[in-house]
């Protein structure tokens, strides 16, 4: 049982590391306005827990990492009450990368689906 759990956990972690970045880029690409972390996490809150078993907070380091990679840019805006908010928007390189990643994702998904369907048919 424990081994199974560990295997699932490992697989989920491996799936998660790329897909979360893709999801975040896609959300920011769709938005006309820059979004702050809370707004982004709110959009995918239930899917996060359901699919990836991750807390909303785990998205923030991914946002930071995408920013450091130049795919997102951010500005810190003071807020009237409370801490300042960091607003993220996608960069030109980010949009271009999203296009490439989406293509890769679709190819991978179709390939895996085909294989899985093939296995099911057998």
């Amino acid at each position: 049982m424990n081994t199974e759990n560990a295997a699932n956990k490992k697989f989920r972690k491996e799936l998660k590391s790329g897909t979360v970045s893709l999801v975040l880029l896609s959300i920011l690409n769709r938005s006309d306005e820059p979004l702050y972390g809370y707004e982004i996490t709110k959009n995918i809150d239930s899917s996060l827990v359901g699919t990836f078993r991750m807390g909303q907070g785990a998205l923030y380091p991914v946002l930071r990492s995408l920013e450091k990679s130049g795919l997102l840019s951010s500005t810190v805006e003071p807020s009237v009450s409370g801490p300042p908010r960091r607003y993220y928007r996608i960069t030109g390189v980010g949009s271009e990368t999203l296009g490439n990643w989406t293509e890769m994702w679709v190819k991978t998904r179709d390939f895996v689906d085909d294989i899985l369907k093939g296995n099911n048919d057998v």
């Binding site: 807390g55 991914v62 801490p83």
Partner: protein, 296 residues
Amino acid sequence: MSELIKEYLTRLKTALAGSDPATVQDALSDAEEHLWIALQLAKRETPEIGEEEVIASAIERFGSAEEIASAYSEIESRGLPVMEARGPAGRKSSSARFFGVFTDPRAYASLFYMLFSLILGTFYFSWTVTGLSFSIGIIVLIIGLPFLGFFLISVRGIALVDGWIIEALLGERMPRRPIYLKKPANWRERLNFLLNDSMVWKTIIYNIMMLPLSILYFSLTITSLAVSASLFLRPVLEYVFDLPLAQSSNWSFWTPGFLMPVSVALGIIWFLMTLHMAKGLGKMHSKIAKKMLVRD
């Protein structure tokens, strides 16, 4: 800030022990921002629910301190794959870094701060020196102590506002709100607290230091800008406005025509160097301000 959020941030900080200080700061500010917004929204939407309950559920959705710490550590250890593959930002050549400053908004913001700081420095200095000497002067009068209290509160206000300006222009994270303090029972207690608060005295020293510092920043920046403008605009100055490079009563020196492109190019390079200098001074000033205006 709510005690529960504070507690969570402390747990997160402990869980992140050993990580890069910048990562710790990022993690703490992300968590603080998120939980604070969650709390404010919940308060607005369902005011009848208790704060503790709201924060507990927000923390649960946010993720445990250990989970979040490991998410940051994992990303940190993974490095920057995209950057390594593409080779921009992180491994820019030195010439790309030198010329890249031209499109760096942070450099222009620092440049603006360096010029604007003279006004701030003069104001902080005058306010602090006047307030301090006036307070001491009238301390024996009945209005002496209340005035001293008012002055010390104003000093804390200045520290906060200056922090906002520094964060907006220089990008250094500074406290957004005054540290929450229990309401003192009476005036005497409040005054006593202010007098014993090392932050107030450090801010007073900072405010006084701001005058010489801002004079230095302003002079360096304005001189450097003037030099770059005079080099860049040399052809316009000489051919349009008939202003020679150097002049005395009986001679004047005009730049030879073939040197004009060199002068323009030097002007551009000088401007880029000014931007680098402003950024460097900005970084240095943020460090000073953080040391003097932020509670450890």
